[in-house]
Structures are given as structure tokens and as C-alpha cells.
Amino acid sequence: MAQPAARSASVDVERRPWVGRSIERVEDAALLTGRGRFIDDLGTPPGTLHAAILRSPHAHADIVSIDAEAARRAPDVAAVLTGEQVKAMTSSLVVGVKAPVECWPIATERVRYVGEPVAVVVATDRARAEDAADLIDVNYQPRAAVIDPLAALAADAPVLHDGFPGNLASDRSFSYGNPEQAFAEAAHRFSIDIRYPRNSCTPIETYGVIASYEAAEDAFDVLANFQGPFSIHTVISRALKVPGNRLRLRTPPDSGGSFGVKQGVFPYIVLIGAASRAAGRPVKWIEDRLEHLTASVSATNRATKLSAAVAADGRVLALDWDQVEDCGAHLRAPEPATLYRMHGNLTGAYDIRHVRVRNRVVVTNKTPTGLNRGFGGPQVYFALERLMQRIAIGLDLDPLEVIRRNLVPAGAFPYRTATGALLDSGNYQEAIAKAVEQGKLAELMARREEARAQGSLYGIGFTAVVEPSVSNMGYITTVLTAAERRKAGPKNGAQATATVALDPVGGVTVHVASVPQGQGHRTVLSQVVADVFGLKPQDVRVNTEIDTAKDAWSIASGNYASRFAAAVAGSAKLAAERIAHRLARVAASQLNVEPVDIVFAGGFVVSKRNPENRVAFSRVAALGHWSPGSLPDDAGQTIRETVFWTPPELTAPDDEDRINSSLCHGFIFDFCGVEVDRTTFETRIDRYVTMHDCGTILHPAMVNGQIRGGFAQALGAALYEEYAYAADGSFLTGTFADYLLPTTTEVPEPQIIHMETPSPFTPLGAKGVGEGNCMSTPVCIANAVADALGLEDVTLPLVPAKLAGLTRGPEPEPPAGRSSAKPAREGDRRLHGEGSASVNAAPDQVWAMLLDVTTLQAVIPGCQRVDKVSDTHFRADVTLGIGPVTGRYRADAQLFDLDPPNAVTLRGKAEGALGFGDAEGRITLAPDGKGGTKLHYSYDAAIGGKVASIGGRLLDGATRVIIGQFFAALAHQAGGAPAGGFSLFALLRRLANLFGGRQ
């Protein structure tokens, strides 16, 4: 441990290190005073144009035609690109599995998810580009969509890509140990079915790209807030059809959060690069929030069936995983990495030697997935830790005791898991004991008893997880068979890089390719390097921008897999040590001592034995510039050193598919107490305790910041956040009014406890800590809620209405006489309704009225122009609106199944800039035996597209209002017409009221 600083007249050679202290962050002065330099703040090259992207309102449809002529002729428009043009200029993005499937950054011939780009408009400013995008007329022929991953595997499911028959992109089975025997012999078998939802960590700053095609050199210069991994650089250059050295990719000084998400900007780098090439000028595109929530990227949703073979004492002998991973509409690089990132860790924190795995990857009509904080961890641990609780309940054991009985033994590290991970270090038993004591579990248990005695719904949840960090670049090849891997060539390692340089007056500069998004990398690197040189952190300037044309980088560069502290900071230490080693030789000859006697402290290079014998660091450091001839012959240059570091433990998958998917493995043990409100079924976190062992802690406040940030996002995943889709593929959460993030009032302060077991595999002993709570917290809260409500199954997010539905008994019946024929929303998200009315006229009179052509024309709401295709088929331009929300639509209405004077079906659809809708109504007429008519109607209707994405909350109501407008207009028309003896007006007015419309 660090020593307190000793007072000395000379240099303090035993100075307390900077690493391990919560020094002020060098990043904060700019960020907290609005001086951050984000991509949209930076200037653009002269003549830069701006892009807007027209996106699909449909989840699945053929593009019959695109008429972009009006947009091309619009003022200040430089170019309009559709899929056809982009395809001509680029190559398909690489797909992560071997299959005859293409992946373009823009739809070609067919759209496969709501929000898929259909056209790019480039104009002198963004508003004009959006104006022109509104003028593009796309004719879609909708197809059936499939949203659910298991439904996508059904024999009759719509197929997205011919190259993925049955929507199956990959199907691999694995066996480790002897799971068959373990299941056959075990006393118990427990299973759980999990549906993990879609969600995302949503950064404040959205995607941004400024791309410039340099025709003279056939090269691209791109500035983008891309986060890595830079393996994607090769994907981009290949798609843009230039060699890697002709794609200069740079990042801005600041990036406003990423959490993995900004990996997903890469298809837009290709798209905007192509736009720049087409326009002949630089093109800038900043994604807006609607685009981001709808179509940027999301974590995978997953259907998992997990079974455990369990001994009588609760020991888990074997696991059987059946995972169906939903990667959305395209398998974009690096997917299906989400599924394989955890492959070495499928046994979590437990000593389980027999594992069977079936991994299937499917495509559905949703936004393609990508990196997201936790990356595969939340999906795996939700299943595993829910199952551990279920085992405890099934065996009538304490859930914590079941966790304890299965932990990897304390003395077993480094421990090789059944599936191949090498758990570097830890003492899980001690960590749990500390957390139980310091987190006062006994007190929490008493609190539960007390709350329950008072009738409260109170529960406690536990989770133990291993947090992997520093990904093996080879883990994704586990999706291939051993033979395929041999053919493809080896992939492994995690090449990190750092450069340390000394300037002519002894100033120290550090450069790394870590692309932070606010984490504080510059601060920590200044601590690490200051310690090596005996300087103060403020003496060390750190640059974390990356320029692939000039900087040291590798495919593993970037900010992901929590690799900074373990890999990048460690590499900076090694680079600084290399220079320090040479400077020590220089100083030793000057001070006339042996190099081993040299230390760096307090701004001096000092003899350990005689601290009075010293020379200023800056003097020694400057020598390489001013007087290289004075350097000892064998010292080498002392100006600049770049280190590449990759851990030897990260080997490729072996022939038995064992893979050490990550270098470091932190340990997390969480427990929490929650109370579920009996009226609202809202979940309140009463106390949350989170124990972390992330190895050596470099900056305690930043580690706690990572834990708090991950906890807040995990709380969102547990309670609020879901990228919700309707069954027809409409996206329902396109704004922050519907995609709910926890705010400061919803996030309690977790109690954070630490233990430090250094990693033997990293230069600083540090492990990653950025993602752990995204893995542990959702299931910990779910376990607590299941405990509170006595539920066997809980699904995230824990929406109050959903919990109420699972818990409450039957609803009080409506009072007698109240009709139950109300509009109802069914599973397919169509709104159904029916009703009837009596009319004091014979059916043939009513029939004549309903089929009157002028009536029909007049009743289409907001109708501006009608084209009569036939007596029973009309097309019209209409303006429809709810309050101020109005838009123009192209409508098409037809009468079907005419059975005069008994029945008719009216079918209509409309499509416009705000979305599309369709409705079908069947009206039947029957004599009531008293000379009048009994009229019965039924309808179903649906609205999709942009309106559904941003007005999901009001969608059903809006649909009814539009139908109401139709009937109100019909009533108005009928009221004005002579209608021999009965008032159709009164009838239709009543109909309109039933639909919720007004006169």
C-alpha cells in the first residue's frame, strides 16, 4: 500500500504514487464549462454540404419505385442518393457469418426495418435537405413482418434474406465435459425460459460524420465520433472500395457518451462517404434523436432456455443453454459478437464443469444490433441468476446459500472454466462475506420481515457475476467451426498501444488509441505516466484523439470491452518505463552511479542511495533533442516510444471450441431490497448494495463513477427502458417520452463496496469495471421483485401495469347494462371494434345511400382530389389530422364483397410523410321485421410509421379519431341529402360518437 509522503529537504524518493488517488479530472474544466469540443461544435471544411436521410416507415416492404426528381430539383439540393446509387459506388458491408447475404448501409430493393435509410439528400443546409426529403415519393409494397426471434424460426415465418433460410444466420452446438451424464444422474433438473428485451444505452450526443472524398487521390478523409473497435476500419474501407491507407478516419477531441453504441455509426460513414463522393464536396450528417432511437443500434433481445442439473444440496452439476439471439434485420459487424462475448463465461462465477450450448442467431424486422454496455452479459446473467433463485426456491434453500455452494473455490485461480475462460484472480467467498457484513444484509432481512408483517410487498434479490473485460479479438470466431477457423486464419489477442514522447524542454506527452467518451482516460494516463517519471500529473499532457493516418493503432483500438484500465493504461506504463529505463542510463552516467541506483521522484532523476545526487528530469529528458551525441552509446533514443501490448493468455479458440473470450474477470456481488407499491405496482429500490473486485483501482472516484453510471443504466433496463415494437413491426418508442430513461429522481444511491485482487495478467493489476452493473443489476432487481410478489417469471422491464396484471385477481365486472363491445387492442396491434344501430328505413334504402358515389367521395376526411378508378375503387389526396398534427396522404379506398342490399366491405389505406394507416370495415344490413333495418358494423384499423414512433401513447385514440372523422363526414353528407322517411344523419352521428369522433 501507498506510504504517506515523508518530509525531506531533498527529494522524497518514497513518494506516494498518483495511481490510486482520486485526483481532479483534467477533462472536467472543459466539459463542465461548456467548452467540450464535440463533432457538431467543430468547424467544417469550406463548402461542406449537409445530409438528411429519408427512412422507411415500414418494417418490411418491397420498394416498388422511388421518384426523387422533385427532390433533385429542389432549391440548394446537390445530390439525392438512393440504394441503387450507393450500391454502384460501394461494396456490401462484411457479414459476420459465412452466408450468401449482403448488408448495405441503405435499403436496396427492400426495406427490412422501420427507420432503414431509403434515400440520402445532400443540400446546403439540413433544413433544406429535410424539405427535399419530404418530396421523395417512395412506393412500397408491404410484406408481412416478423418481430419475435422464436416466431422468426417458424416454418411459415416471412423470410428476410434468401441467404438466411428460415431467418437463421447461424446455428452452432457445443458440449463441454459430459453434460448428458450429469443431467442423467442429477437429483434435480431446473429450467427457465427467458425473454430478454431490447434496450440500449442512449448517449446524449448522437452519431455524427463529416466525410470528404478526395478525388485526386481516390481517398476518404472522415471525422466521426466512432468509438472502435478499429477492426471496423477495414469493414468501412472495403465497403468504400479503397485500401485501408486511403481511408483516414479521425475522431473529435470529445464524444458525448457512447456505451458501445457509437460503434454503430460505421454504416453511416460509408453512406456519407458515398454521398460526399457523389456530391463532390464534404458532407456532414448529424443524427437526430428520432433517428437515433429508431434506427441507430440496440442491444440484442434474446430468447433463452436454460436448464441446470442440480444435486440435492443445490450444487449445479451441469448447464444446458439454448440461446436464440435476435440481431435485427441485418447481421452487421461485429455481430453475432454479443452472443459469443460471454462464451467463456457461461458458467458465471460458478464451478460448473459440464455445459451444453446451442446458439442460434436469427434476423427479424427490427433495427440491426451492435455494441452496447454489458454486451451479452445482461442477457446471460438474467437467465443464469434467475435460475439460481429458482433452484433455491425449488430446494427450499436460502438463495445466497445456493450461490455460495457453487462459487469457484478461492484457491483455484487462475481457474479455467468449462467453456474456456481463464479467470485471472479473485476470492469470491471473501468478497461476499465482506458485502454481507458491510452492506448489513442481516438488517435488510429484518427489514423485509417487518415490511411484510405490515402488509407490504417487499423482496430481496441477490446476484453474483463475473465481469469480463479486455476482449479477445478471436472470440467471435467461435461462431465458426474449427475447420472454418483453420481456413480463415488465426484471430486472437487484444493489441493495445500507447506512445510516450518527450519534448525539447522535458515535457511529457502521451497518446493512446482509446477514444474515450467522457470516462477520464486522460486523467488516469497522466497519473500512470507521472508515477513512472516522478512527475506531477499536470506535467503530463495526454491526447486521446485518433487519426488512423498518423497514429499508432490496431484493430483492437477503441473504447469497448472495458479495456482501458487493464490494457491501455498498462501499455502507457510500459511505454513510459521503456523511456525511463533509457533515461536512467543517461542520468546514471551523469551522476556517476549505476542505473539500478536511479529513481525518478519529485521532478528529478535521483540516486537512491544519495538523494542529494540528482539532476532535473527536464534536463535529462531534453538531452535526446539537444545533444544526442551525449547519450551513452547503448542507451538508444529517448524522444518517443510506442508500445504494442497484447496478452499471451488471449489465444484463439481451440479445436474443442474452448475460448478465453476475455483477459480479465472482475467479480461483482449485489443484493438489494425493493418494495412494490400495492396501488401502483411501482418498484421502489429500498437499498442496493454492490460489491466490486476490479483488481487494482487506478482512480477510485472514476471507478465509482463507472459503477454509478452502469447502475443507472441497468436500473433503466430493469424498470423502464424497452425499444418496443408492434407486431406489424411499427416502432413505438421513438422519443424520450416513450423510451423512458431513469432521471436523477429515479436513481437511488447504491452502496458501493470494494475489494482489490490484482490481475496477474495486466501491467497495473487493473481489470475493467465499466460494464458490470449492466450485467448484475437488472437480474438482481428482478430477483427482488420476484421475491416480493411471489412470481415465478418476471420479464423486463418491470412495468407497473405488467406486474399488476401478473398479481391482481380478476377485475370487477362492469355494471349491468354496460356494453362490452368496445374497441379492443389485440396482439397484432390492430384496433378492432364493432357495434350496431337501428334505422327506421328498409335495407335497400340504406344500401342506396351507402353506395352513392358522391357520398363516398365526400366522406373521405380532408379530401382534396378524387380519382375514380372504377365504380368501387377510388384514389384521393387527403389531409388528415389530430389537432395540430396534420399531414397529406395519398389514400386508396375500395368497396369489396358487395352483397346488395345486405352487406359491403370498405377497405382503405393511406400513406404520407407522417406514416401510413389502413382500415377495413364491414357493414351488414338486415330487416328488423318492423320495416326498418338493423345495421351492424365492425372494423379494424392500424396506423404505423413516424406517427407510431413518436405518438405511441396516443395511437389508439388517434386511430379512433380518424375513423370518427370518416363517419362524421358520412353523417354530414347524409344529413344534407333527401333520404325518404328516415334520417341517416342521426344514425351516422351516433356511429361517429361510438367511434369517439365529434360533429
Partner: protein, 271 residues
């Protein structure tokens, strides 16, 4: 997410607003805080030709407590009313409910009348106007008129305001001394209400008003009920509201909250 082009008029007199509305009708929108309108413009949900900004008109920014009514001008921001020292005495229900309207940031820009004009089914202010039986003061170049709350809200985001009319002010009857109570359930604080309820004591019993369930706030007057009679009345009311499912809640959940919260609030008011 940039609005379509529009003309912007910063009105310097009420007549200028009225003339603008008279000339442009439905193509004009009044900008009075903009907390819903600006988002709709940026998402191109609304594409008015003209935006008439009324926020510089001091004559519309008054709160007056006169003749048994509190009249709030079209330019009065929600935060201004919440900070008005007489609020708790004259309109205790608004003092209870205004903190539920959006967030501090949106209240500091959003106006009382702007929220009424927008008529979102989940908004608190329309619910409060119906609960207290207030009136909307409408004015055009043709006429001035007042419309009662129950007649003003005619549907989802639809009101009785004619296209050439400005909501000049709104008036709430001043407090009659009876008790009142308000409660709201939303996913997070400041979100649109899943269910919001206000109960107000009346000379003959109690009025319960519910927002967030039907297309418009719905009120029901009852004599002093309790026990199973109250349960039956609330159950009937809950079923009549035509609750709907959305991504945040089910229709059943909304009815449950009307039954449970309605009973709690009525109990508080009649105790």
C-alpha cells in the same frame, strides 16, 4: 429534425394576433411557451405557415383575482402561477397539481393557456379546468365569448376554439372553502399521466375528475357515497372511460387506478 419553413410574427398588440388568426385561420399557430408546439414543429408533425408569438404582450400576462374568479392571461407561464403568492388561498387544487405539470424547466417556459389549447388527454391543466368548472375566454376579430371547460374539450387534442380565435385567458372559480385532493400516477415524475385524478367537495357531495384515460378529462358528480355504493359508482365510472392500452399501461391498470385512487381521494375530501 428541422421544422418546415414558416413565418414568424412577434405580436406587439393583441389586435395583431387576432388579425393574424383571422387572416390565416388554421394555417397559423399561436406560440405561447412552445413546450409542445416546438417539438411538433421540429418533427414536422405540425407545419403551420405562420407562428404568432404572443409572449411579449404584457396585457396577456396578468393574473387577476376578482369577483370570485381567478383569471389567468394567455401569456402566464406555469412557473409564474405556481409562484403566485395567492395561489394556495384562491386555487388550492392548482397549488397541489401544478408541480405535476412537466418539469421545472418546462414549467418555466410553458403557459397555462398553451396547455389548455393543446388539449393533450393526459395533461393536468385541462383536468383541473374541468374539475373546477372554469371557463376559457376566446376572442377573435368577430367576437368575444366564454366556453365552459366541459364544452371546451371536444376530443383528443381538439377543442371548441375556432381557427380564428385566440385563447385570451382562462378563469377558475375562486376557492369555495371545500376540500380538494389530487393524485397522479406516471412512469416517472413529470411524465404524461397514466391516470390523474382530482376530487373536489361540492355543495351536494363530491366531484371526481379523471385525466389520462379518456380522450378528454371526464368529471362525475356524486352525493356523499361510501362503502360498496362508492365502489360500484367508481367501477361504473372506470368502465365508462373507455380506457386504452399503450406502451406504458394497460386499460385494466388504468381502471384499477381510477377505482383505487378515486376512492382514496373521495375519502380524503369527504372525511
Amino acid at each position: 429534425m428541422k421544422p418546415a419553413a414558416f413565418d414568424y410574427i412577434r405580436a406587439e398588440a393583441v389586435d395583431e394576433v387576432l388579425e393574424g388568426l383571422s387572416k390565416e385561420g388554421g394555417n397559423a399557430r399561436v406560440l405561447a411557451g412552445g413546450q409542445s408546439l416546438m417539438a411538433m414543429l421540429n418533427m414536422r408533425l405540425a407545419r403551420p405557415k405562420v407562428l404568432i408569438d404572443i409572449m411579449r404582450l404584457t396585457e396577456l400576462s396578468r393574473i387577476e383575482d376578482r369577483a370570485g374568479a381567478v383569471t389567468i392571461g394567455a401569456g402566464v407561464r406555469q412557473a409564474t402561477l405556481l409562484a403566485w403568492p395567492e395561489l394556495t388561498r384562491t386555487l388550492p387544487l392548482l397549488a397541489l397539481a401544478l408541480p405535476w405539470v412537466g418539469h421545472v424547466q418546462t414549467r418555466s417556459r410553458g403557459t397555462i393557456c398553451g396547455s389548455l389549447a393543446h388539449a393533450d388527454p393526459s395533461a393536468e391543466l385541462p383536468l383541473l379546468l374541468v374539475a373546477l368548472g372554469g371557463e376559457v375566454h376566446l376572442r377573435s376579430t368577430r367576437r368575444r365569448r366564454r366556453v365552459s371547460a366541459s364544452e371546451f374539450f371536444v376530443g383528443m387534442m381538439a377543442t371548441a376554439r375556432a381557427e380564428d380565435e385566440l385563447i385570451e385567458a382562462v378563469s377558475f372559480p375562486a376557492h369555495n372553502g371545500g376540500r380538494c385532493a389530487f393524485r397522479e400516477v406516471a412512469r416517472r415524475h413529470g411524465d404524461f399521466a397514466i391516470v390523474a385524478c382530482a376530487a373536489v367537495a361540492t355543495p351536494t357531495g363530491v366531484r371526481l375528475t379523471v385525466g389520462g384515460v379518456a380522450d378528454v378529462p371526464m368529471a362525475r358528480d356524486w352525493p356523499c357515497l361510501d362503502g360498496s355504493a362508492l365502489d360500484d359508482a367508481l367501477n361504473g365510472f372506470a368502465h365508462e372511460l373507455d380506457a386504452r392500452d399503450d406502451v406504458h399501461a394497460t386499460a385494466r391498470y388504468r381502471r384499477d387506478l381510477v377505482r383505487i385512487i378515486g376512492r382514496d381521494l373521495i375519502g380524503e375530501v369527504l372525511q
